[in-house]
Amino acid sequence: MIDPLYLEGVIKILFVFVLISAALIISTRSLASVLNTYTVQSFLLAAVSFLLYLIDGKSELLLLAGLTLASKVLLIPHFINRIEEKIKIRRDLDFTYLEPTTSLLLSIGLILLSYTFLSRVFGDLALSRLFFFGAVIGLSLTLMGMLVMFSRKKVITKALGYLSMENGVLMLGIFVTELPFILEVLIVIDLIILVLLTSILAVGLDSSIEEYRAKIRKLQIWNGGEAL
């Protein structure tokens, strides 16, 4: 049996790495590195889940770790890797609304915001410090994933932003709300479908959302784009 305090220390170190990975997803330009970062992030999550299992002994956590490892570390990155091979683009250089530096500064703000918010909300709940930090990291990861979704241009990066956002939800789920396991499975299935769809759209239509929009507009699915 390993000392729980030691395990908690390890988890806290992992938290820091998770945050670093989120920052990298926001700012890295090479598509391959973004994907690698996501894989690492998912792996870190699986590891956190496993370590928590060692502390708590709840079998759901072990299953969760396994599921995360199978889907988010192996399956999904594998799909995306194949898309990246098919499309000719290697880097995502365009940003909308926010430049990477600003995004990073903003994400610091987001972490602080999550911290103050959660400390007010959970103030009376007397959560242990570890769980509180987990929740903060989870919430900030969700928000940062969202930030990726609107500030980066390529469809693949957007999809990865969404995936990273889901990682944040998973994290929050592990530490605060204890999502039922079946829900977690469903989310993973959703994610896989999302990735499949993205692959169809990204390869089949185009790799850049700009041209994709032009095509959509031709099909008259969305209107209102003419206003700008």
Binding site: L110, I209, G224
Partner: protein, 649 residues
């Protein structure tokens, strides 16, 4: 027993709604209107009994949401309005039987039959509603079903505009009602109607203003009246009769229900309601004088009559606030009785107008004339309606207004001299409106039915089928009976107000007329004996024949009155020049238009509409079709939510 009657009426109306939609045939439509007729007979029995015995009833509540029950209840006030519905519906159902068949498509006919039943059912349930939620639900159903009926001929641009106008106004009305009811709910903590004894009267200011505005919009009080002259001409005549005759009264009912629940209304409420009513009465009739579209004219006249009803309500509040309950009761009785009477004669007039429009194919009264020869029965019914609405004794229009006049004349009983002055001013406005209404209906009847036909269509007009005649005859009979037996009716309903017996007056008037007639006749016979009769043409100023174009026209008839009220009928001159060049120096051609200034529309309705339009244009820029922007909005929303929760916790 009573419950069986009202449930039977519900069942009849409901199956009348469903039947034409399930079995799309002419027979189903006939059955549907037959069912609404049956329901009205049941309701007459139900409401009559309640009014006579004076005992209210509460139907068992069905709980459909936690904390909210579906309650229906009836007391004497709502029974009076149920009676009003039941008096108008039989005519409309018989009339629509024939009229509906002229709709363009089969589906349109079925829908019209179904919606008419739904509309009646909804109005009935609004009146019987036991709490605010039920009231609002059926209020909304009532609005929507009537909206669809207004839009029955949606291909015409004019009807679409009318429908849109009505839609906006009716939603505005509902919004105000929601506000009013919510603020009432906050005060009392209960959704029941009529539990305001414990509430501080000062706190009722906001609910009062909201409900007054909401019900005022629906009832068509000036300045919220503009939807009426658009919606009534667009709807089928039977529906116009229902809307004008009944739906406006449902709004009056709602307002009365609130006012009667307030133990001690404040004086300024009464002054506000009285002012609104007087303005509506005056403006309604003044605008009607200028109108030459028969249905629009009737719509403006509805505004006038709603004004009269609100004058009665205003008087009730003033007398109540000043502690004169007998006078207050008289004014309230006058208002309710006038509402009832207006329902009768306005539906009669709308149905006659429908027959005339049906026979001639136009709504322009300048094209009518001479219908008394080609459509004698319709003309006679039309005359009864005109006499009633012009408040000539002993028809029912006179009976209702007499109560209000009596209340007005006793304004000297008030202690406050300023208030007396105000009432005298309102009285003069009321009297002026009455006189103008008489002139208006002299004009309408004279131009429509008398003299020579002014157009080919009018010359070729034929009497309408019998169902349409019978239909219009029902309210006509009610009009006369309700006038002559008004005292008896009121005492049957348990309202003992100081009031002359119109039966006696009617007999007296009748015998005087008969005596006069006989005297003249005798004299004539006497003269004839002395000198033989000479039969020749009337001198036509030397013209060989008298052409219809020489007749008094509608515009000519109202010209003197138009001159008097010139300042109200402001005209607007529109120049629309066109130029050859962009600098506008070489004049090409152009046109100038002089038309009546639509004061309320152009100064009161259009500016806020434009403002809303430009704001929505600005907001719609947010919808730019960019995925990034949408995610950004979601992101900002989440952040805002987080911050807000953090601040609130």
């Amino acid at each position: 027993m009573l419950e069986a009657l009202v449930y039977g009426a519900f069942a009849a109306l409901f199956s009348g709604t469903v039947l034409p939609l399930l079995y799309r045939s002419k027979n189903a439509r006939k059955a549907s209107f037959g069912l609404s007729f049956i329901s009205s007979v049941l309701l007459l029995g139900f409401a009559g009994t309640i009014l006579y015995t004076g005992k209210g009833a509460l139907f068992p509540a069905i709980s459909f949401l936690p904390g909210l029950d579906f309650t229906l209840g009836v007391d004497r006030l709502s029974a009076g309005f149920v009676l009003l519905i039941a008096a108008v519906v039989p005519g409309v159902s018989i009339y629509s039987l024939e009229y509906t068949e002229h709709a363009k498509s089969e589906a349109g006919k079925d829908l019209q039959a179904a919606l008419t039943n739904l509309f009646i059912l909804a109005m009935l349930l609004v009146v019987l509603a036991g709490n605010m939620v039920v009231f609002l639900i059926f209020w909304e159903i009532m609005s929507l079903s009537s909206l669809l009926l207004v839009l029955h001929d949606y291909s015409s641009e004019e009807n679409k505009k009318a429908g849109f106008f009505y839609f906006v106004m009716t939603n505005l009305s509902t919004a105000f009602l929601f506000l009013g009811f919510i603020s009432l709910f906050r005060l009392t903590g209960s959704a029941e109607l009529g539990q305001l004894e414990s509430v501080d009267p000062g706190a009722l200011t906001l609910p009062f203003l909201c409900l007054f505005t909401g019900f005022g919009i629906k009832a068509g009080l000036v300045p919220f009246h503009k939807w009426l002259p658009y919606a009534h001409p667009a709807a089928p005549s039977g529906v116009s009769a229902l809307m004008s005759g009944v739906m406006l009264k449902v709004a009056v009912y709602g307002f009365l229900r609130f006012l009667l629940a307030v133990p001690s209304p404040e004086l300024w409420w009464g002054i506000l309601v009285l002012t609104g009513g007087s303005l509506s009465a005056l403006f309604g009739v003044i605008y009607a004088l200028k109108e030459s579209d028969i249905k629009r004219l009737l719509a403006y006249s509805s505004i006038e009559n709603i004004g009269i009803i609100f004058i009665g309500i205003g008087l009730y509040v003033i007398f109540e606030a000043e502690g004169l309950p007998a006078l207050a009761l008289m004014s309230l009785t006058g208002a309710c009785f006038h509402a009832f009477n207006h329902a009768l004669f306005k539906s009669l007039l709308f149905l006659c107008a429908g027959s005339v429009v049906h026979a001639t194919g136009t709504r322009n009264i300048e094209a009518f004339g001479g219908l008394v020869k080609s459509m004698p029965v319709t003309s006679a019914l039309f005359l009864i309606g005109s006499v009633s609405i012009a408040a000539l004794p002993p028809a029912n229009g006179f009976a209702g207004e007499l109560l209000l006049y009596q209340a007005f004349f006793q304004a000297s009983a008030l202690n406050d001299p300023l208030l007396t002055v105000l009432l005298v001013i309102a009285l003069s406005g009321f009297a002026l409106a009455g006189a103008l209404a008489a002139a208006l209906f002299v004009k309408l009847f004279g131009i429509t039915c008398l003299a020579l036909p002014r157009s080919e269509e009018s010359r070729l007009a034929e009497e309408v089928p019998r169902p349409m005649l019978i239909r219009a005859a029902v309210p006509a009979a009610f009009c006369i009976l309700a006038g002559i037996f008004s005292k008896q009716l009121l005492s049957l309903a348990g309202l003992d107000v100081e009031y002359p017996d119109l039966l006696l007056l009617g007999l007296l008037l009748g015998s005087i007329y008969a005596a006069l007639f006989l005297a003249v006749r005798a004299k004539e016979d006497h003269e004839m004996e002395k000198r033989p009769a000479r039969i020749s043409e009337t001198w036509g100023c030397g013209a060989p024949t008298l052409a219809p174009s020489m007749e008094y026209s509608s515009a000519g008839f109202s010209e003197p009155l138009v001159m008097i009220f010139k300042s109200i009928y402001r005209t607007r001159i529109m120049h629309r020049p066109k130029y050859f060049d962009g600098q506008e120096s070489l004049f090409k051609n152009g046109n100038v238009e002089i038309r009546l200034l639509r004061f309320f529309e152009e100064y009161l309705y259009i500016p806020p509409a434009r403002a809303i339009d430009s704001i929505s244009k600005r907001i719609s820029r947010l919808q730019n079709g960019k995925l990034d922007s949408y995610v950004l909005y979601a992101f900002l929303a989440v952040i805002t939510l987080i911050i807000a929760t953090g601040v609130l916790v």
